[in-house]
């Protein structure tokens, strides 16, 4: 069963005074299966946050429909079994993290004992045990993000929706969020998150969707979306500075790029080039192979290509 089903979702805004029509979403469709970690990618203004806000019932849907865990969006039933972390979360800054989680638990309809036990567990899990008695206004950005994650998880949701959960976090904070996402996945939960950090998305997600200009451009497993053909190969050689100049010149002529540093040569050759022949030429020039690294298209390459395509279309329009 799909946990999220979005069909032809459209969202149109009107600007405040001139009432100009802005189509933020132009028929977004995708599904998220139970137990998946699903990444939602897109440049700024692509419609990621609007999609998430529509799913959370923060924005009215202008067209199409969406369901969460079989319940229509927006509905209380849909929100009952999910947790949400907004982008750059803001909370009542006079509350402590325990009080914030207690409020979240009350709104989720949890009993007092359940709320207390779950909050205690989550505070430890997100690493805020040392800051229990501290008002949220004294929290750093990373701490607020962790408090927000705990709030999203207070009702032990089946689905967790995270809007830019790594935004503004340092590498340690990012790792903690990544670990938390994986823990949720391992516990059988479904995680839907948007992010700009493509390396995180690539390493965490079972499937991704790329949203550009209010439309889904690609959807699928990261390895299926990118072109697996080797685009180029990087050959790193140890090469004496006094190596035969003619042999080195013949070698570098085989590559598309070459960079010579003290005792080393980094040669990049095209995807169609016979790497064995390059390595033979390297030996002939007196070089020793340190590394041979084939390069494929990455999610980042695909993402940038989609954004560039959209930019070109907008220029033509």
């Amino acid at each position: 069963m799909d946990v999220i089903t979005v069909t032809d979702l459209a969202k149109t805004y009107r600007t405040p005074f001139r009432r100009r029509r802005v189509d933020a979403l132009k028929g977004v469709s995708f599904t998220v299966a139970r137990g998946e970690v699903f990444g939602f990618l897109g440049p700024n203004g692509a419609g990621k946050t609007t999609t998430i806000r529509c799913l959370m019932g923060l924005c009215a849907i202008s067209g199409g429909k969406a369901e969460i865990l079989g319940a229509p969006v927006p509905s209380r039933a849909a929100r009952q079994r999910m947790g949400f972390l907004p982008e750059q979360p803001y909370f009542y800054d006079y509350l402590t993290v325990s009080e914030l989680l207690d409020l979240g638990g009350r709104l989720a309809g949890m009993g007092a004992a359940d709320r207390r036990a779950r909050a205690d567990k989550l505070i430890v899990r997100v690493g805020l045990d040392h800051a229990r008695g501290l008002a949220l206004k004294k929290f750093s950005k990373g701490m607020l993000q962790r408090a927000g994650l705990a709030l999203a998880l207070i009702n032990d949701p089946e689905l967790v929706v995270l809007d830019e959960p790594m935004s503004g976090l340092d590498p340690i904070g990012r790792k903690e969020v990544r670990d938390l996402i994986l823990e949720e996945r391992d516990a059988g939960k479904t995680v839907f998150f948007s992010s700009h950090i493509l390396s995180d998305v690539e390493s965490l997600c079972d499937r991704v969707a790329i949203c550009v200009g209010g439309k889904i451009k690609d959807i699928g497993r990261p390895r299926d979306l990118v072109d697996a053909t080797t685009t180029e190969t990087e050959v790193r050689l140890a090469l004496a500075d006094d190596a035969d100049a003619a042999a080195v010149a013949a070698l570098t002529a085989r590559g598309t790029r070459a960079r010579r540093t003290a005792g080393e040569l980094l040669l990049t050759v095209g995807g169609g080039v016979d790497v064995d022949a390059v390595l033979a030429a390297a030996h002939a020039a007196g070089g020793k192979v340190i590394a041979v690294t084939p390069r494929h298209e990455t999610l980042e390459d695909l993402f940038l290509r989609r954004v560039a395509d959209q930019g070109a279309r907008e220029v033509l329009r």
Partner: protein, 266 residues
């Protein structure tokens, strides 16, 4: 139903906690205490009218400062949540938007009730200092002033559901001022020769809550002069005025909920 009440109560308690941190509210309490102390000083200057001055000042202070506080707190009640983006984490919980609006209003009721109680305590202390017991008339006037404050709070919350604090404050103050002079509007309808003035006054009487019913000391009720210092209204009048206020509060909250339900939080 019980679950819904629990969610409303959670929002109300949080709103109370939030409002209790507004330092201006404590300043207002200090001002009201000062007004009551001023009543002692003015009472000393009058001849055998000590308690009259204390009662009039005390009740007028509750009505004025209570209403101003209701406007001050109410105009940011919903707008502030959207501006500060705290609403994203709350509305995404299994909470209906009307529960949020009602919870916020109830939290405000708790705050304003605590304030009115503090004001009433200050007045009682002044009366006790003057050796005067709190009469039934004063108790009735206090209940009326409390309902006026709660009605004004509902006006402010209604405007806060769709406009900025500045506009909400302007509209709420205007309605409060018009609502206090309904006898003058009725007089204008009866005596003015201008059709335009008659229509404006009639329109105002329909769309503006009649707040004069809560502050009738020194005015006329059914042709009889009433005063908190002499013959005052009976409890039947207080109940009717409270029902009038409750109906306006309900109507304003229903409108606020309907508007808030349609809002996009972007």
């Amino acid at each position: 139903m019980t679950a819904s009440l629990a969610r409303i109560w959670a929002i109300a308690l949080n709103t109370f906690r939030e409002a209790a941190r507004i330092k201006v509210l404590y300043a207002i309490v200090v001002v009201v205490v000062a007004v009551n102390l001023l009543a002692i000083a003015l009472g000393e200057m009058s001849v055998s009218q000590h308690s009259r001055v204390a009662r009039d000042f005390g009740i007028a202070g509750i009505s004025l400062f209570g209403s101003l506080t209701a406007i001050f707190v109410g105009i940011v009640l919903l707008y502030g949540e959207i501006q500060k983006r705290t609403i994203y984490s709350i509305i995404s919980k299994p909470l209906a938007r009307w529960e949020f609006v009602v919870g916020k209003y109830l939290g405000m009721v708790l705050v304003l009730t605590a304030l009115v109680a503090a004001f009433a305590l200050a007045m009682t202390a002044v009366l006790a200092y003057q050796g005067v017991a709190v009469s039934g008339a004063v108790a009735k006037a206090l209940v009326l002033a409390w309902f006026e404050v709660l009605t004004v709070a509902a006006i402010a919350v209604f405007f806060s559901s769709f406009s900025s604090p500045f506009l909400s404050g302007t509209f709420a103050l205007a309605l409060w001022a018009i609502g206090r002079v309904t006898p003058d509007l009725r007089a204008a309808i009866a005596s003015s020769e201008s059709t335009w003035i008659k229509w404006v006054a009639k329109g105002a009487l329909v769309i503006v809550p009649d707040l004069h019913v809560f502050s009738i000391s020194g005015g006329d009720v059914d042709g009889q002069h009433v005063s908190v210092n002499a013959g005052f209204v009976d409890w039947g009048y207080v109940a009717a005025a409270a029902a009038h206020g409750a109906l306006w509060i309900a109507a304003l909250l229903v409108l606020a909920c309907a508007i808030f339900r349609k809002r996009d939080f972007v």
